[in-house]
């Protein structure tokens, strides 16, 4: 029974990684850049919820909505100010380094405003959870909510991309920006929309992450951000179902190895798996072969 508990916890952590990884992978798919500041958007979202909920005497619903709106604005603004001018720069490294710069900027702004001490975050999920099999299987409310939300997000994204004009434009622009422009698609606006969605997802992921692991610091987003990046690469970067699978695999492996092997080694195991997968399948689990242009 305890194995089942750990598995469900892993699934829950994996769902959070998956939601973050979705943002990474969508942005990579269309802008062909790794937004290394993506993890810090999570932290920003958490601090917003923390402050707003504090001011509203614990009403976290308003906090979540404000966080989603502000993170969306942050994502779009970052893209416009920091990344767009570098699109078409001679080296793709320029935008990558800028993303790292944005990451440090956000962390240090948080440090200035909130200080370095760890804040205790009160869960946005008030539900106690389920007690099954006569109390032998305890599942926390936040665990269940996290899994359900990630499934809803995945389905919503798939519907958006396959059924809506904007989603199809996103798909087209991620494959060939020039051809997309010839169709009348405003590529810049499509990229901005992708950043908006990714950043909104980061805010949601932040709310869930800090509810499950309630300590908040300016570096809260850094490690989950890197793990989600690993998840996106593991699943095949650019692939939405891939990000989901990569996230879940990563979360389950992390929790199980923490439980059964060693909590110190769990990160090493997680990254070890990445190395092995990339050796066997360089494009990730669901990644497509990159066709070299002749």
């Amino acid at each position: 029974m305890s194995f089942l508990t750990y598995l469900i916890n892993g699934l829950s952590l994996g769902s959070i990684y998956a939601i973050i990884a979705l943002g990474y992978t969508m942005v990579y798919g269309i802008a062909k850049m790794l937004n290394f500041a993506h993890g810090d958007f999570i932290m920003v979202g958490c601090y917003i919820i923390f402050s707003v909920s504090g001011a509203m005497s614990g009403n976290s619903a308003v906090g979540i909505i404000v966080a989603i709106i502000l993170c969306t604005l942050l994502g779009v603004t970052t893209e416009f100010v920091a990344y767009r001018p570098l699109r078409g720069a001679s080296s793709p490294l320029a935008v990558l380094i800028t993303a790292i710069g944005v990451s440090y900027l956000l962390e240090n702004i948080a440090l200035l405003i909130y200080g370095a001490d760890i804040k205790s975050f009160s869960s946005v999920v008030k539900w106690e959870g389920l007690s099954l099999a006569g109390g032998q299987l305890q599942i926390q409310g936040v665990t269940i909510v996290t899994i359900v939300i990630s499934v809803v997000i995945l389905i919503a994204l798939q519907l958006f991309i396959n059924r809506t004009k904007q989603g199809q434009a996103m798909l087209a622009a991620s494959e060939d920006k020039g051809a997309a422009a010839l169709m009348g698609i405003n590529v810049n606006r499509t990229i901005a929309l992708t950043f908006a969605i990714g950043s909104a997802l980061a805010a949601i992921a932040g709310a869930l992450l800090c509810s499950a692991y309630p300590s908040l610091s300016p570096y809260t987003g850094a490690m989950p951000g890197i793990k989600a990046f690993v998840a996106a690469v593991l699943g095949g970067i650019g692939s939405i179902p891939g990000a989901m699978i990569g996230g879940l695999v990563l979360g389950i492996v992390e929790i199980l190895s923490k439980t059964y092997i060693s909590s110190q080694l769990s990160d090493a195991i997680v990254f070890g798996i990445l190395v092995v997968v990339l050796l066997v399948r360089p494009t990730g689990i669901l990644g497509k072969k990159v066709q070299e242009k002749v």
Partner: protein, 236 residues
């Protein structure tokens, strides 16, 4: 009456001048061919017309709009579509999704369905494969898809960049027949081709582009019999 009038157009890639002030025009209802060797500036010309490359000098007048100042995504709404070189279909999307992308700027759902059925009639193969991923089509079928996709926007002027490139002779003939049929339906065509003989045989007029300059222009049939053209471009 000219639907497209290009005057003194110049484009630089860094310090290299790819187009050295070219001028040409396309009249409504015509097929105009732009022929020339590799690197003469044919694709650059079309990309500049569609706004994928920005002009460094000169004017592009399309139905009274100056295209040098129009962002590329707004040009298709003005009634100009391009079938790009190398087809550039969206390989991860189905044939039908590709066609719908071609109608991205249109909001008239019923008329769009009508255009789609006209295109299916012209390219029955596309209808047979409408749910297949575009990347799995053969080269000739992809060319048809690229043409169908451009026609979905219901253009007045269609720019075609090397439609016969890499196709088997049977497909080449089929593609050129389709270009003529499209033109008969009232779409003006600006055709860029390396297959000069084929292009001149279906065009009304033609321009010869040589290292960024127009070296010759005139009636297509006359150019087909021009001694210098025959030597340089028809391999005789």
């Amino acid at each position: 009456m000219a639907i497209l009038e290009v005057s003194n157009l110049s484009v630089y890639y860094g310090v290299i001048q790819a187009l050295k002030g070219i001028s040409f025009h396309v009249d409504r209802g015509e097929i105009v061919a732009l022929i020339g060797a590799n690197g003469a500036g044919k694709t650059t010309t079309l990309h500049t017309l569609s706004g994928l490359i920005s002009a460094d000098g000169g004017k592009i007048n399309y139905k009274g709009h100056d295209l040098t100042k129009t962002p590329s995504h707004n040009i298709v709404t003005l009634g100009m579509a391009q079938v790009p070189e190398g087809r550039r279909v969206f390989s991860e999307m189905t044939v039908l999704q590709n066609l719908k992308m071609g109608a991205y700027t249109r909001n008239d759902k019923n008329e769009m369905e009508e255009t789609l059925s006209v295109i299916y009639k012209r390219f029955p193969r596309l209808e047979e494969r409408k749910n297949q991923l575009a990347g799995t089509l053969s080269g000739g079928e992809q060319q048809m898809l690229a043409m169908g996709r451009a026609l979905m926007s219901h253009p007045d002027l269609i720019l075609m960049d090397e439609p016969s490139m890499g196709l088997s002779p049977i497909f080449v003939n089929e593609i050129f027949d389709i270009i003529q049929a499209v033109n008969r339906d009232g779409v003006t065509v600006l055709l860029v081709e390396q297959n000069a003989r084929k292009a001149l045989s279906i065009a009304n007029r033609a321009y010869v582009l040589e290292t960024g300059k127009i070296s010759k222009e005139g009636d297509a049939k006359e150019l087909l019999n021009d001694e210098a053209i025959r030597k340089a471009y028809l391999g005789e």
